[in-house]
Amino acid sequence: MSKEPDIVKNAICTFCGCVCDDIELTVDPDGKRITKATNACVLGKSWFLEHKVEDYPVAMINGKEVSFEEAVEEAAQVFVNAKFPAIYGLSDTTCEAQKEAVAIADYLNGNIDTTTSVCHGPTGMAFQGVGESTASLGEIKNRADFVMYWGGNPAEAHPRHFERYAVTAKGMNTPNGKEDRTVAMVDIRPTSSSLIADIFLQIKPGSDFELLWAMRAMVKGKALDNTLEERTGISMEKLENLVERMKNCQFGVIFFGMGLTMTRGRHFNAGALLELATDLNDFTHFVALPTRGHGNVTGADNVVSWQTGFPFGVNFNRGYPRFNPGEFTTSDLLGRGEADALCVIASDPASNFSQKAIEHIKSIPVISLDPKPSVTSQLARVAFTTATYGINVAGTVYRMDNVALKLRPAFKSPFPSDEEVLRAIKHRICELRGIMINKTAAA
């Protein structure tokens, strides 16, 4: 008996921070895979189409298959026996799962941190220092006649960013799309993105801060040293020209990526850019936005913020939240050998942290939640296979501009969601710790 394929309209792609919500998914009648992802970009297509339900064990302890309940018990034991349990990851899962993770950190007096700390954490810190002028992406589409990208390659990292939001997108005051805009690109080398730019500034590596600082001085009409070109590769004249355009546009925006935030200078680079956008408001309306990578990293920032007051790198050791990037951010505390248990949700620190941190990861019990095996899950004491958010799991995610959307999963997974795993662990921890969580309280 042949079934009609299921169609999911307006499905939401969580591959990157664009969180496009206009995808039409065709689900194979067997209910186990997606055969078509209309509107999705190349990255989104592979995200949807390559997703298969594999035959992994739902849970393993030390590499041996165990029942879900055994794994939950073991994970809870690891947690309650730790003096400094750290929870990390969370940017590729739903807000519902993120809330459970914060609750665990709270009930355990542990530490919680998201991948923000290794991508746009510097932006978060800069934001706390200088603020920001920002907008939802539709404002860019409708109004921006000056668009700049700094230190990122959206054509490859966020392929639909141009079309949906910022470059070719047609909006209220930009009915002709790209013709109505000036597009500027700043990078250390030409990229596939820079091809579309009207203005390309190829700057010397590591001179972002100097250039941004010089632009701020120009905007403010302040003194500038004439060694600028030698140091940044951009001539004074070219820069003046650019700054004039920025001051005279109707609505300007600068998008910035990790090329800015994770190079030397980090949060100061991000801060300089945010301040430049703010300074420009003396002349016109101007905003700046980080182009966030992970599908729900923005949600993680939001959830951790509203529950604790701080966006990432939060420590509950003393029974209340404390925040200090560098001290309570996971890569740093592992690098100093500080945590004595680690729970990783949808991330792979064992493959991308510093050598010192990885060595420490290997020396402590690790709990991992991931739809697929990773370096981290392979060295985990307890490894859960979980369902993939957006494809198998419903819930809330946040677009890079803080717009919350509700996922439309395509088909069911045999694996539990991160939220379900974490909630089970939370309940067991509370039992072990004698904390009575009632059903009405924030579940």
Partner: protein, 547 residues
């Protein structure tokens, strides 16, 4: 459901039911006030205590995108004000923008059980519900920003008033809002435009539209009344904070033409003087108008000295303040719907304007003939945190304290007001009106703000103390929906509150107008925009005429 509770020997203040300090028994069962409970029910002896309905905050900023921005913006504000975890309650941090759990617990500690988030663009509704879900104890809803909605304004400028009304109905449903909020009507277009400017009078044309702020105000007041929403249009007038703005405020109130309208944080809109120069007090003028016009209600938006956080849909105002203070600043635009500005702020006794604002707020309270229509707010956290309410209550109840405090602030400012000439001291009954019964009535929450049979069992019990600040600072008992949340000053167990929203009827054909607008100008799919019931589970829909 919860066990029955009997509260005996307490002095009860229940203005809606004309109970003014009588010793009276209050019985609670299944989350409601009932006339009796079995004799073996849990009994609270409230001898020497004051029993009131739970507090109702008609205007505060506690959830949503801008609140969360302000929250993560200020780690320095949280650091020295932590909320340690107790039992199964969650930990958190305080400061002027506390974390969600802490917000709920601290409101409850003051005896508040209902609070209304005052400004959310519809696109931020889902986020707002996420946060409200994590704001324990309180029942809560929010007001949806519609006065700078491009789609609505396009309908309005074309004179399509019927479709406008239907679209408003659609939006209230899609966003599951409680009331319509106007912030600086028409001001977003000039702000988001090239000159970062603002509109300055009600009859000025809004850039890009054949429309004036007055037309928007009128249309939304009408829509609120025609849809018979429980709470009328909630209006943050144009020209907030500018000298001479009382004229705009009067004009806005006149625009209601006798229909119901609520002017919010009216203190910020009661200034005389010339633009660009020091303000003066026009509290008397504003009070007179409201005293004479029963269709108008207001909350004060009292300024309290110390740390505050300015967060408002009125972005151009925050830009002005930013340039004055050089503080860190946030601007956050929402496509087709709203603007937003945020900055840390501090009200200081010695500064003329701040002292004047403080005095004007008190004047407005004290000159109001009808406390039911001039209710308590600090526009938390704009005029100061809600945690200042006890002190504010003392200022209203204790003239000597008030005059002593007035002696510690900028004397030039005080001399420019009538504060010292006013002898009025609020009674306990009047405090119960401005903090509970009044806001509940203005909100159309018939089950709140009173202790009559059938009311929600939201009850607070305070030790009666001479020092009213100390008294209202920490309720001895707080019962929410019939369950004890605070028992003898101790937290019992975490409690959820519920979402309050409206679902007025509208003609679904209006979606044929809105959908194409979305396709052209929004970046969220029309079908992904509306908030579904998952985000408001356990909600209470407050009836409107049509629903």
């Amino acid at each position: 459901m919860s066990a029955a509770i009997r509260i005996k020997n307490g002095k009860v203040y229940d203005p809606i039911n004309n109970v003014d300090g009588e010793i009276k028994e209050i019985c609670i069962k299944d989350g409601k006030i009932v006339d009796s409970v079995p004799s073996d029910s849990h009994c609270i002896d409230a001898h020497g205590m004051v029993v009131m309905p739970g507090g109702v905050d008609i205007h505060c900023h506690i959830a949503g995108h801008k609140v969360n921005l302000a929250r993560k913006f200020q780690p320095e504000d949280h650091r020295h004000d932590v909320q340690p975890r107790v039992g199964n309650l969650r930990s958190g941090t305080g400061g002027t923008v506390p974390s969600t759990f802490t917000t709920g617990y601290r409101y409850a500690t003051l005896g508040y059980t209902t609070a209304m988030e005052a400004a959310v663009p519809p696109m931020g509704a889902r986020h707002t519900f996420e946060e409200l879900h994590d704001t324990p104890v309180l029942d809560k809803g929010y007001y949806v920003l519609l006065a700078n909605n491009v789609c609505l304004n396009q309908l309005l400028e074309k004179g399509r008033t019927e479709e406008f009304k239907e679209a408003v109905g659609w939006w209230l449903n899609a966003a599951k809002a409680y009331a319509i909020k106007l912030v600086n009507p028409g001001g977003d277009e000039p702000w988001k435009g090239r000159k970062n400017s603002n509109v300055h009078n009600l009859d000025e044309q809004i850039s890009g539209f054949d429309l004036t702020p007055r037309k928007i105000i009128k249309a939304l007041i009408d829509a609120s009344n025609d849809l018979e929403l429980p709470h009328p249009a909630h209006i943050h007038c144009n020209n907030l904070g500018h000298s001479g703005n009382y004229k705009t405020t009067l004009e806005t109130m006149k625009t209601a033409e006798g229909r119901r309208a609520h002017i919010t944080h009216i203190q910020f809109h009661s200034y005389g003087g010339e633009v660009g120069k020091n303000p003066t007090s026009q509290a008397a003028e504003i009070s007179n108008y409201i005293n004479d016009n029963p269709n108008i209600s207001a909350d004060v938006g009292q300024v309290m000295f110390g740390k505050a956080t300015i967060m408002t849909g009125d972005a151009p105002l925050t830009w002005l303040l930013r340039n004055m203070t050089n503080n860190k600043w946030i601007n956050a635009d929402t496509e087709c719907e709203s603007g937003c500005g945020i900055l840390p702020f501090s009200y200081q006794e010695h500064i003329y304007t701040h002292a004047l604002q403080w005095a004007i707020g008190l004047e407005l309270f004290l000159l109001a003939k009808d406390p039911w229509r001039m209710v308590l707010s600090t526009d938390h956290p704009n005029g100061g945190s809600f945690e200042n309410y006890p002190k504010l209550i003392r200022l209203l109840m204790d003239k000597d304290f008030r005059n002593e405090q007035a002696g510690n602030v900028n004397q030039k400012a005080i001399a420019n007001t009538n504060l010292l000439d006013i002898d009025r001291e609020f009674t306990m009954h009047e405090i119960a009106i401005i903090s509970r019964a009044g806001p509940a009535k203005l909100l159309g929450l018939s089950n709140k703000g009173h202790l009559g049979i059938g009311a929600d069992a939201d009850v607070t019990i305070y030790d009666e103390m001479k020092d009213r600040e100390a008294m209202f600072n920490a309720a001895r008992y707080v019962i929410k929906s019939g369950e004890l949340f605070i028992n003898n000053h101790e937290f019992c167990s975490d409690l959820d509150g519920r979402i309050l929203h409206v679902e007025p009827q509208y003609d679904e054909a209006v979606e044929d107008i809105i959908r194409p607008f979305f396709e052209d100008y929004y970046t969220v799919q029309f079908d992904n925009y509306a908030v579904d019931d998952d985000y408001v589970h356990g909600a209470e829909v407050i009836p409107t005429k049509s629903r």
